[in-house]
Assembly symmetry: C2
Homo-oligomer: 539 residues x 2
C-alpha cells in the first residue's frame, strides 16, 4: 500500500528567527578517506547455509547470496577490464560518502569512450538485483546506480553524489576492441558530523551486546549528517519520529546536543499554517517542511524537546519551543470526537506507529497523545506553567478513561483499535508507554501480548524500540535485553553492518515499498540498542 | 567484419617541433546558443510514405519513422512530466555542442531524486532505437545516451559531454508520486572553428544544388572543431583520408588554412617508428598517433600536403613536410613484390578505399600509390628536387605497366584485383584517378563501369567522391553533376540535415559496424559536393 500524503495549495508558516538558529548550528562534517579492503565476488546461492547472506527479494524472487573474497585491493589495478567485466569492491563496513577512482586505458590508444556502470550496495544482494525489475511505489531513483561515459583517459572519476554502501560494483559496459580499462585508487571520502572516537566502547562483558552497541553506534554516526537523517541511502532527511530516537541514542553516545537543537529549530522554523509540525523536513537545498502530517510524529515533538532539555539543560530552547510543543497537543485535543477519542482516519497516511500491512492506528494514536501529554505536563511544571500542567492532567485522565472504555477488551484482556476492533502489538505497546494502567497491569499486559502474539505484529526497529521501552517501563529489564539480542542480534546474524529500516524475523523480505530493493539498510531509528544498554545499564 | 588493427608494443617517433607548431595553431572555437524550434513526436511507421523518414535498422528490424510537431518550445515548461513521460526537442538542424537545461519540481517538495534519461539523435530513428539491442563490433559507448540523477531541485543540468544531434529526448524515469518535473530553457551551445557567414551562398540557379551545397557546408562546419574530425558523433578525430577531402572542400569555402596546416603537423608530429604516418590521429587529451596504418591513407598525405601548398602558397610547410611525404612513397615502393605490385594483404585492415563487404584492395592500393607519386613528382619539381622527380617518374611508369599487366582484364575491359580477380567500382575509379590510361580510355572505362555496374559497388560518400572526381577528370562534368544530385540529393530526400558517413542508395540500412545505430550522420568525408560545384563550377 502506497503511504504518502499530498496537500494541494499547501500553506506554511515560517519563523525566520528559528531557521536562523538552525542554520547557525549547521555542523562541519568530518571527512576521512576509506579504501576497500578486498575484491569480492557476490553470487546467488539457492541453498541457505549458516554464514551466508539471506537478504533481499525482487518481485517475489528471493536472493540468497554468497560473498567470496576474490582478490586483494592491490590486484585491482592489475586487472584488464574489457566489455562485460565487473569488479566488486568491499569497503569493509557500511560507508556514507563520496567515491572517486582512477581509470586508465591499457592496450592501444582509447578510440571510443569508456562506458561504465556503477552500483552501490548496502547489503550484498543489492549488487545482483536488476533495477529494471523494480516496480514499487516509491521512486526507483533511490537505487544507487550510475551510468557514465568517459571521453578521455586516464580520468579521475569523482562521483558528485553521496552514496551509502559497503559494496561497489564497477562494470565495463564497453570500451572498444582496441583497449581495456584499469581501475585504481578507489576511495570513499566518508562523511559524518560525529566521530566514533568520541564514544567509549561498551565493554559489557557480552560479545554480542558489545557488537550490537557498535553496530548501533555506526548506524547513528552514519545518519548524523547535516541533520539527523532517517536513512542515508533513502530519504536522507529529517523525520520527527526518527529524530526522537536518534536524539535519545545520541545523548548516551556522541552527545552532539547542537545537532538535536538544530533539528528541533528546523521543525519549528517552518510549520503548517495552523502550527502543526510536519512529519518530515527537508534541509536541502533550502529548509522546507514536507506536506505530510502524522499525528504521532507531531506529538512526539513534545518528548523530543523535553528529552533534549533534560539531556542538555538548555532551558532557553525549552522556553522558546514550548508554545509550539503545546500547540501540537492542543491541535489534537481539539480534533477529538465527543467520546474523547482520536478520530480514526483509516487507510489515510495520518499516523505512523509502524509499517506493516493493515495496522489500525486509532488506539495507538490515542496512546501517543496521552504519552505526549504526560511529557507536556512535566515540561509545563519545569517552566512554572502550573495552570497548563493542571489542565493537561485533567485532559489526560479523560483521555485514559475514554481509551479504556473504547479500546480495552475485557474478554481478550488486550487493547483493540478501530471499528474492526483490531488487536495489534502496536496498540498494547503504546498503551503501556502511555501508562493507561498501572505498572503491574502493564507488566501482565506485555506478557499477555507476547503469549497471544497478535497477527498484526511489529515490523520496524522503530516499533521494536517502543516495545523494548515498554518492557523496561514494566521492569522487565532482562526480557528487554533478551529481546534486543534476539531482534537486533538477528540482524547481525543476518549480516548487518548497520541496523536496518525493516526487520521482521518472521519475514526477512518484508518491504512496505513493493520491493526491498529500496529498503534502507542503515536507518537511524534502529540505533537505539545503544541507548537502552547505555542508559539503563542492561547487561 | 570487424576492421581494426592492433600493434603490440607499438613504437612511435615524435617530432616535438612539429607538435609545437600544431599546438600553436589550435583554434578558438566559436560558440553560439541554439534553442529548439519545436517539440516533436517520433513514431514508428510501417508504411513508407514520401516525406517520411526511412532510416535505420536495428538487428535487422527496420525503423521507418514519422516526425510530427506536437508543441511549440513555449509549451515545454507547461508540461508536468511524471514517471515514464518523454519530450523530444527538435533543434531545427544538426548541432554539435554542449547542452544545458533547467529542471524544476512541481507538486509537493521533491522527496526523492529525479532520475532522467537523455538521448541525442542525429536522425529521428535513433530516438526509438533501444541501445540494449546494439551488438555491433564497435563500441556501444558511441550511442549518445545518458542517465542522470538529480538530488536537488531546481537544477540547471549542464551536460559535460559534447553531442552531435538534431533531436534530444528527455525521459523521466522516475520522480516520486509527490512531484513532477518541469523542464525549461533547453539550449545547445553550438561549437565550431569556422563560421557559416564567412562563405558566400552558392546561388547556382538550381535549388537542389544550392541545398546540397548548404548541407555540405554545414557538414564541414560541424566537423571543423579542434581538428578536422571525421564524424562528430562517432570517432571525433583525425583520419587522413577524411582530412584530405575536408581540406579540399575547406579551400573553396571556409578557407581555414591554419586548420589544415595544424592537422598536417599533427600527423607529422608523431609517426610510426619507421616514419609511416598513421591512418588516424588523436589530438586529445594529448596528441597521439593511433596504431593503425592504412597504406592508401598514408600515401594520401602527399596530395593533402600538395593541395595545401597550392591553396595557401605556404612553401615553408611544403618544404618542411616534404621529406615525410616522400618517406610514405618510399616505404610503399620498398614493399612492392618482384612484379612491381602492391602485396595483397587480403582481409587485414591494411588499406581502406571504401567500406563494403569483401572489397579486394590490391589494385586500388596500386592505383593510390601511382596517384600519390604523380603528386610527389609535382611537389619535387616545385621544390627544385629534379632528381627525385625523375626517379619517381621512372617508378610510376613501372608501376603503371605492372598494374596493367596484372590487373587489366582484356576480355572484361575492366581492372580486376587480387587473386580472385575481383571486379569492383573502387578499382576502376582509382585506376582512372591514377591516370594509368589516357583520358579517352579512362572515359570509356568509367562508362563501361557504369554500364556493367560491378557487384562490389560503392558504399561511402568517400568512395563516391573519388568517383565524381574521376568523372570530372574524364571531362564528364554533366554526368558528375547528375551523379552528385542523385547520390547526395538522395540523402537530402531521405532527410539528411548533414551528409552521412554511409549511403548506399540500394541498401539504405548498410552499416560496416553491425548496426546503423552507431553510423555517423554528420561525416566530413561526405562534404565534397561543395568542393566540386565551387571548384569546377558545376551547374
Amino acid at each position: 500500500m502506497a503511504s504518502y500524503g499530498i496537500i494541494e495549495n499547501f500553506k506554511t508558516k515560517k519563523n525566520p528567527s528559528f531557521l536562523g538558529k538552525a542554520a547557525a548550528l549547521a555542523p562541519l562534517l568530518n571527512r576521512h578517506p576509506v579504501r576497500p579492503t578486498r575484491l569480492v565476488e557476490i553470487t546467488e546461492t539457492h541453498q541457505v547455509v549458516q554464514s551466508e547472506w539471506q537478504v533481499g527479494e525482487t518481485e517475489g524472487r528471493r536472493h540468497d547470496v554468497t560473498v567470496r573474497t576474490c582478490g586483494e585491493l592491490e590486484d585491482l589495478e592489475r586487472r584488464k577490464l574489457k566489455k562485460g567485466d565487473r569488479v566488486t569492491l568491499d569497503f569493509g563496513n557500511h560507508q556514507v560518502g563520496y567515491v572517486s577512482f582512477h581509470v586508465q586505458a591499457t592496450g592501444s590508444h582509447f578510440d571510443a569512450p569508456a562506458y561504465i556502470r556503477m552500483k552501490f550496495a548496502e547489503i550484498p544482494c543489492e549488487i545482483l538485483e536488476d533495477s529494471s525489475d523494480y516496480h514499487g511505489w516509491i521512486s526507483k531513483s533511490w537505487i544507487q546506480e550510475e551510468y557514465l561515459h568517459l571521453d578521455f583517459l586516464p580520468a579521475t572519476v569523482k562521483l558528485p553524489r553521496r552514496y551509502a554502501f559497503r559494496y561497489m560494483l564497477i562494470e565495463v559496459l564497453d570500451t572498444s576492441p582496441k583497449y581495456a580499462l584499469k581501475i585504481s585508487e578507489p576511495v570513499c571520502e566518508y562523511v559524518s558530523a560525529v566521530e566514533m572516537d568520541s564514544v567509549p566502547p561498551l565493554h559489557s562483558g557480552d560479545a554480542l551486546l558489545d557488537q550490537i552497541d557498535r553496530v548501533g553506534l555506526k548506524t547513528l554516526m552514519n545518519c548524523t549528517q547535516m541533520v539527523f537523517e532517517d536513512g542515508v541511502k533513502r530519504d536522507r532527511r529529517l523525520w520527527l519520529g526518527d529524530l526522537r530516537l536518534q536524539a535519545l541514542a545520541n545523548y548516551c553516545t556522541f552527545r552532539n546536543y547542537d545537532m538535536v537543537k538544530r533539528c528541533l529549530y528546523l521543525f519549528a522554523g517552518e510549520t503548517f499554517e495552523d502550527g502543526r509540525i510536519g512529519a518530515c523536513f527537508f534541509h536541502e537545498p533550502e529548509p522546507c517542511v514536507d506536506d505530510t502530517y502524522l499525528m504521532d510524529y507531531a506529538l512526539l515533538f513534545v518528548p523530543t524537546l523535553f528529552d533534549y532539555y533534560e539531556a542538555s539543560g538548555d532551558l532557553e530552547t525549552l522556553q522558546e519551543l514550548y508554545p509550539l510543543a503545546m500547540r501540537q497537543i492542543d491541535i489534537c485535543l481539539a480534533a477529538l470526537d465527543k467520546a474523547h477519542l482520536v478520530v480514526d482516519k483509516g487507510e489515510d497516511f495520518w499516523c505512523f506507529l509502524d509499517w506493516g500491512e493493515g495496522l489500525n492506528k486509532q488506539a495507538g494514536a490515542q496512546a501517543v497523545l496521552i504519552y505526549s501529554i504526560h511529557c507536556g505536563i512535566r515540561m509545563a511544571r519545569v517552566l512554572g506553567d502550573e495552570e497548563r500542567a493542571a489542565s493537561l492532567s485533567r485532559e489526560n485522565e479523560a483521555l485514559k478513561k475514554a481509551a479504556v472504555q473504547a479500546f480495552w477488551d475485557e474478554d481478550l484482556k488486550l487493547f483493540v483499535s478501530g471499528q474492526e476492533r483490531q488487536v495489534s502489538w502496536a496498540s498494547q505497546v503504546w498503551m503501556i508507554l502511555a501508562q493507561v494502567f498501572d505498572r503491574e497491569t502493564n507488566r501482565k499486559l506485555i506478557h499477555r501480548t507476547r503469549q497471544k502474539n497478535p497477527r498484526i505484529h511489529m515490523v520496524t526497529p522503530y516499533m521494536y524500540h517502543h516495545y523494548i521501552d515498554a518492557l523496561i517501563r514494566c521492569d522487565e529489564r532482562e526480557l528487554a535485553l533478551e529481546e534486543i539480542k534476539r531482534y537486533w542480534g538477528g540482524m547481525i546474524r543476518d549480516g548487518a553492518d548497520t541496523f536496518w529500516e525493516l526487520y521482521d524475523p518472521d519475514n526477512k523480505y518484508e518491504s512496505p515499498y513493493g520491493s526491498c530493493m529500496v529498503n534502507s539498510y542503515c536507518h537511524a531509528w534502529s540505533c537505539t540498542p545503544s541507548y537502552f544498554v547505555r542508559k539503563f545499564g542492561l547487561r
